[in-house]
Amino acid sequence: MTAPSTCVFICRCDAAGVDAQSAAALAEDVSAAFPDAAAHVVESGCSPRGIGGIVESARSLGCARVLVASCAPGLHMTAFRGMLANAGTAECLVVNPFPDGAGPAQRKKAFEAVRDAMGKLAPCAEPRREKPVPRALVVGGGVAGIQASLDIANAGYKVTLVEKESSIGGHMLQLSEVFPTLDCPQCIMTPKMVEVAQHDNIDLRACSEVEFIEGEAGKFRAVIRRKAAFIDWAKCTGCGECSAACPVEIYSDWDRGTARKKATSRPFAQAVPNKFRITKNGVSPCRAACPAACNAHGYVAFASQGKWAEAYSLITERIPFPGIVGRVCPHPCEDACHRRGVDQAVSICVLKRFVADRMRGREPLPVPAPDHGKKVAVVGAGPAGLTAALKLKLKGYKVCVFEASDRPGGMLVWGIPSYRLPRDVVRDELALPAKLGVEMHFNRRLGPDISVDGLRREFDAVVLALGAGKSWKLGIEGENLGGVTGAVEFLARVNRGEVASVRGRVLVIGGGNTAFDAARSAIRLGAENVTIAYRRSIEEMPANPGEVEGAGAEGVKIVFLATPLRILGDGKAGAVEFLRNELGPPDKTGRRRPVAVQGSEFRIEADLVVSAIGQAPDAPFLDNDARFAFRKTGALDVDMVTLQTGVKGVFAAGDVVSGPDTVVGAIASGMYVAESVDLFLTGADPSFGREPPALNVVEKPDLRAARAGERAKAAEKAPGARRGDFTEFDLGITEEQAIAEARRCLNCAGCCECMNCVKACEPKAVDHAMQDRFEEVEAGAVVLATGYDLYPVAKIEEYAPDPDVIDGLQFERLLCPSGPTDGRVLRPSDGKEPKDVVLVACAGSRDPEHHKPYCSRVCCLYSTKLAMLYRHAVHGGKVHYFYIDVRTDGKMYEEFYQRAQQEEGVNYVKGKVSKIYRVGDRLRVLGADLLAGKSVSVDADMVVLAMAMVPNQAGIDLGRKLGIAMNEHGFMTEQHGLLMPLESSRPGFFFAGTCQGPKDIPECVAHASGTAGRVLSFFGRKSRPAEVKKEPASAVAGQGS
C-alpha cells in the first residue's frame, strides 16, 4: 500500500467539547472525500500520549503532510509542527473544525473547515524550511531596542538597528533620574549605547525609517529609508560649530517645549551617533514670494541674533541695493508670511532697510571673478541695468554702463521722490558697480550718442535696460492744454530741482505709486489742494500699502470710482470733468472693471492735472527700428524665456520689458538677464533650464516655538510738518526693535539655508543638497521596539492649556541636570522657581468615558519620583500629589513610595482633580481629599500631569503598513496574551518594550531580552531534511500505544 498523501488527525476530548460521534463523523466525511488521505480520531491529542501517538502514526505511515483538527490552533500549531518536523513531516497545519461546538448541526461546517485547510497544504516536494537569514532587523533604538540588539548580537548573529531620530536612547535619555534607584539614565545607558555603536555585529542606522518589509519569517527583505541629515556623518566630528553658527531657533521635541533648539542640532551631548542634523521643513513662504528670490528667512534669522554683516551678505547675494529696496518695496514676502496667522507679518522689508542702514559705510565688498576678456554693454543705469552690470562683473565680464542722464538710478532718482528714497542712500548704494570696476558712462543717450549696432560691434552682448519713463496719455479732450502733464515727467522735473513750488489746485489721475509720489511731492511743494482721482475702489488700488494712509495724513484727498471725461479750460487747465463708476465683474487682471454710471458727471477744479495711469518705454529710435517690436502696452517685445530681443546678442531687462514694475522686480529681471547673457556668451543655450525650481513651500508652520510680540512700529516725522520737507519722513526702527521684530519670525522652514553652518564646518561635512537614500536589508526576523509617547495634555480641556500645566517628560527636562535649565526647576511661563507644585495622577488614563481606559502602569512610580526629585531640587518646595490609587507593583516600589510619604514630605491626596485654572500668576486646582471626606482647593505655581502612555505614532503607522495586529489604542497584539507575549501573530515579527503595552524600564529590559531569546531560538531551529523517508504503513496508532 502506498503511503497516504495526507494524514488527518481529528482530536477530541471533553474539555474541548468535542464528542466521539462528531469526531468519528468528521473522520468518515474526510475519508469519503479524500480516499488517498488517512483520517484518524485521536483522544486528547495535546496530551503527551496523544501527541506521541500522532507523531508515531505520521512517521510510520510515511506521511509528509499532516493536518491536525483540534481546538486552539494558534497555541497548538507550534507544538505540533515542532514535534512533527522532528519526525520528518514536511508540512503541518492545525485547524479548528468546531469553533462553535460539536454536534450533528455542525457536521457539514466541520467538514468544510477541514477540506479548506487541506487545500492549503502545499504539495510537498522541496525542503520547506531553510535556515533563517542570520540577521535581525530591530526597529527602534530605545532601551528595549538596544537590549534586544545587544543580546542577539552577542550570541553571534547580525543586527540592523533602525532608529528614526538622529540618536539612539529613546525617552529614557530625557529623564532626570530613574526609579526606584534614582540612577542617572544618561550614565547607565550611554555605555550600552556606545556598545551598540561599536559592536561588530550591529549595523546602526540612525536617522532612518523602515519603508516596507516583504517576504516571510526566515527571509525578509526590508527597505530602509536613510533620511537626509544634510550633514555627512562620515565627516562630522560632532564639534558643534555648525549649531553655534546657526541663527534659527525652533521647537525642540527633545526638550518638549521647555527650550528651543537650533535648526542644526544634536539632541543631547552624549548622542550616539554623536552627529548633528539639520531640520528642514521645506521653503519659507517669504523666500518663495520674493521676485528676486532673496533669502528673506535667512537674513531675518541673522537679524534675530544681531548678525548684521551676515544678514547684509545674504541679502546682497540676490538684492544688491538693500537700503533702496528696504524703503520702496511692496514686500510680497510679508503678504505670504505665516506670522500673519498669529498676529501680523514680520516686518521683513523694514528689517532689510535696517540692515542696510546699519552696515552703511562698512559693507563687505564682493570679489569679482577674474576678468576673462568678454565684454558686455548695459544701456540704462536704473536698478535693472545696474543689477545686470553687477552680476556680470562678478562673473568676470568687462562691463560698461551707458546712462542717458548724468547720474545712476533711473526711476530711483528721477521718479521716486526723496522723501521716500533719500538721495544719499541711492548715491552710496549705487556706487557699488563702479567700485567693482564697472565703467559708468553718463550723458550717453541711445540714438543721438550711441546705437544698438555700434554697441553690438564693440561688445560681445548688449543689455537694454531702458525703463518705462514716458507717461501714458489720458486720451481725452483737453490734454494739450497748459498745466497738463504726465506724472513721470512732473517728478523728473521735481527731482531735477526745476520746480520751486506748486501753487493752486493739483489733480492727479491714477492709483499707483507714481500717482502718490506726484501728489505727495505736490503737497510738499506747497500746493494748497491736492486730489487723487482713481477709477476703481481702494481695494483695487495698486499703490504700496501705507500710501493711502500716509497721503491722507499729509492732506491729500482721494476720490474713488471716477473716470476722467475731459479737461476743461481756456488755454490752460481749469477743471476736469469726471463720470462716476460702479464696479462690475473682474477683468483679466482679476480686478473688478469700472462701469460708468450714466448721467453722473461731476467736476473737480484743478490748475495742474497730472496723469499717472501708466508708463511706457521712451525709445523712439527703437520704435523706428524694424528689428524691435513693441506690445500694445508700449513695452518691448522679447523672448520671455531668454529676454533676448529680435537682434541676436541684444537682450532687454526691467521696465522696458515688463512695463512699470517694482524695484525688486527690476532687480530680479537684471539678475535673470545676466544669466541669459552669461549662458549666451559661454556657448550654452540661454533658453535651457531656466524654469525656477519647484519649491516645497511650508503650508502649515509649527507655532509651538513662536515668541509673543507685536509688530514693530517705525518712528515717523509728524505728517503736519511735511510741507516743504523732502527729507525722509519714515525714520525706521531701532536696533532693539529690529532684533525683537526678527525674533517674531516663526522659522517655518526650520533651516533657512543661510549657509552659515557650511562656513563654520571645518571638515566640510554640511551638504544641503543631500537626499534621502534607500538601503536593502535581508533579515530572518524583525523586532519591533518602536516605543511610546505621552497622551497630549491639550486633550484634557478642564486642565489645559496653560504654559505651567506640563506633563511628566517636560518636568523631567526641567529637573535634568543636563537639561535646558541645568536642573533648576523654572516654570515655563515666567522662569520663576515654583514653590508649590501639584502632581495629578491618571491624567488621560483609567478614563473609559473620555480618554484612555487602561492604567498606564508607570505613572504612580514616576510621579512619586518626580515629587521627590522636586523636593530635592527646591528647598522648602511643597508637593501635593492627587491620586486615585497608588500602584507599586515592582521590586522596591512600595519602599520607594513609603519613603516619599514618610521621609520626603510628599503630600498624597486621594482624589482626582476636576479642574485647573489660572488665577493671577498661580494655578487653582480643584480636587478632593476622599480620605478626609472633603473637596479641596489648592493654589499652586505649577501642575505636572501624569499623562497616559500611548504607543508612538510612528510605530502605529509602521504596524499598519506591515499588517501587524494592534488593539484599538495602537498597542501591538501578542500572538497569545498569556503565553506568547513577545511575538506578533504575523510570523517572524517580535516585539520589545512599550509598543506592546505600558511598562517600566526593568520590564522593558526583561521583555527585550526575552524577545531576543525568542529570536535566537528561531534562528537556531533545525532546518528540514531534504527527503522524507517512506516506510510501509503499519497499524493505526493513536488509541493507546
Binding site: E797, E798, K915, Y917, R918, V919, G920
Partner: protein, 299 residues
C-alpha cells in the same frame, strides 16, 4: 425655516426685558418666527429620573404643539428651556418604550418618532444668519466693551446638546465680538450660578454667584452677558444677597445677550428693560452715549 418661538414662563414675567430685546433682534435679523399660539411650561429642568415619565410630558407636549402649528423648528431664548426640550426629545427618541408611553399618552398629537429641531437663538444667529450679517446689523458697535461671556450649565452640558464645547465654549464670545465688544473668557464661565437655590437657600446661591462675578472681574470684565433668566436673576438680583454676606462687594452689571445685540443694532437703551437691573449697566450706556456723541469714550 419657520421658527416657532417658545418663550417659556419667565420670559413673560420677570425676564420681559429678555423677550423684548430678543424680539427686536429676531426681527432685525430677518428670522421668520411667530410665538407659538399654545404652549406650556417646559418643566424648568430635564427630569433626571428614568422612571417618572410624567416629567417628560410637559416638554414633549410643547414640541408636538410646535409641530402641529406647522413650524419647522422651535427657537428659544432660555437656556433651561433649551436644555429641557432638547433632552426630553432625545430621551424619547432613544428609548422605544418611553417613546411609546409618552406619545401614547399624548396621542392627540399623532405619532411622533422624535427629532423635531430645537434651537437656541445664539445657534440661529451664528449658524443660520451668520455673524457677518450680525456685524453688519451692529450699526452702533459696542466699542470695545469688556463683556464676560457667561454660559452657565444648561447650554453646554451634557455634550449631547451639541450647542458648544463643554469646557471651552465659544459661541457667546464670537457673538459678542461680532457686536463689537471685547469678549472676556473666564474659567468659571460654565460654573453653576446657584440655580433653584435662589428659593430655598439664597445664601448658597449668592455664594455661587459671587465666585463667578469675582472671577469675571479678575479677568477685566466690565459687564456679564448671559442667556438664561435664572442665571440673570441669581447674578443680578442675587447681588443684594451677596452684599449682605460681603458688604464690600462691588456691584457688576449683568445683561442678556439680546439686550447687547439690540443696543448694538441701534435700539435706544430706554426701551430695553435695564431699569429692573439691580446693578444697572451704566458703563455700557455711558460708553454708547459717548460714541453717539461722536467721541470715543477714553478707556
Amino acid at each position: 425655516m419657520k421658527y416657532g418661538y417658545y418663550p417659556g414662563c419667565t420670559l413673560k414675567k420677570n425676564a420681559a426685558s429678555f423677550e423684548k430685546s430678543a424680539l427686536h433682534v429676531m426681527k432685525a435679523a430677518g428670522i421668520e418666527f411667530r410665538e407659538m399660539k399654545v404652549w406650556n411650561c417646559c418643566g424648568t429642568s430635564f427630569g433626571l429620573t428614568k422612571d417618572m415619565l410624567i416629567h417628560q410630558i410637559a416638554p414633549v407636549r410643547n414640541i408636538l404643539r410646535a409641530r402641529q402649528e406647522g413650524f419647522d423648528a422651535i427657537v428659544t431664548l432660555c437656556s433651561i428651556c433649551y436644555n429641557t426640550l432638547k433632552r426630553a426629545d432625545s430621551f424619547i427618541s432613544s428609548d422605544s418604550m418611553v417613546k411609546r408611553r409618552i406619545t401614547g399618552f399624548l396621542d392627540e398629537y399623532g405619532p411622533y418618532e422624535g427629532g423635531f429641531p430645537v434651537f437656541h437663538l445664539l445657534e440661529v444667529l451664528e449658524d443660520r444668519i451668520g455673524l457677518g450679517a450680525v456685524s453688519k446689523l451692529a450699526i452702533r458697535p459696542l466699542s470695545g466693551l469688556r463683556a464676560a461671556a457667561y454660559y452657565g450649565c444648561m447650554l453646554v452640558r451634557p455634550a449631547e446638546l451639541g450647542f458648544d464645547s463643554m469646557e471651552r465654549p465659544g459661541r457667546l464670545r464670537r457673538f459678542l465680538k461680532a457686536l463689537g465688544a471685547e469678549p472676556v473668557d473666564f474659567p468659571l464661565s460654565t460654573e453653576c450660578c446657584g440655580a433653584y437655590h435662589a428659593v430655598g437657600e439664597p445664601a448658597t446661591a449668592a455664594e455661587f454667584s459671587r465666585k463667578i462675578i469675582d472671577d469675571a472681574r479678575l479677568r477685566g470684565a466690565e459687564i456679564i452677558v448671559t442667556g438664561c433668566p435664572l442665571c440673570h436673576h441669581n447674578l443680578d438680583r442675587g447681588q443684594a444677597e451677596i452684599i449682605r454676606a460681603w458688604p464690600g462687594f462691588n456691584p457688576m452689571p449683568v445683561m442678556y445677550f439680546t439686550q447687547a445685540a439690540a443696543l448694538a443694532f441701534g435700539e435706544p437703551a430706554a426701551g430695553l428693560g435695564f431699569e429692573s437691573n439691580f446693578a444697572p449697566p451704566q458703563v455700557l450706556l455711558d460708553r454708547l452715549a459717548g460714541a453717539a456723541a461722536g467721541r470715543e469714550a477714553p478707556r
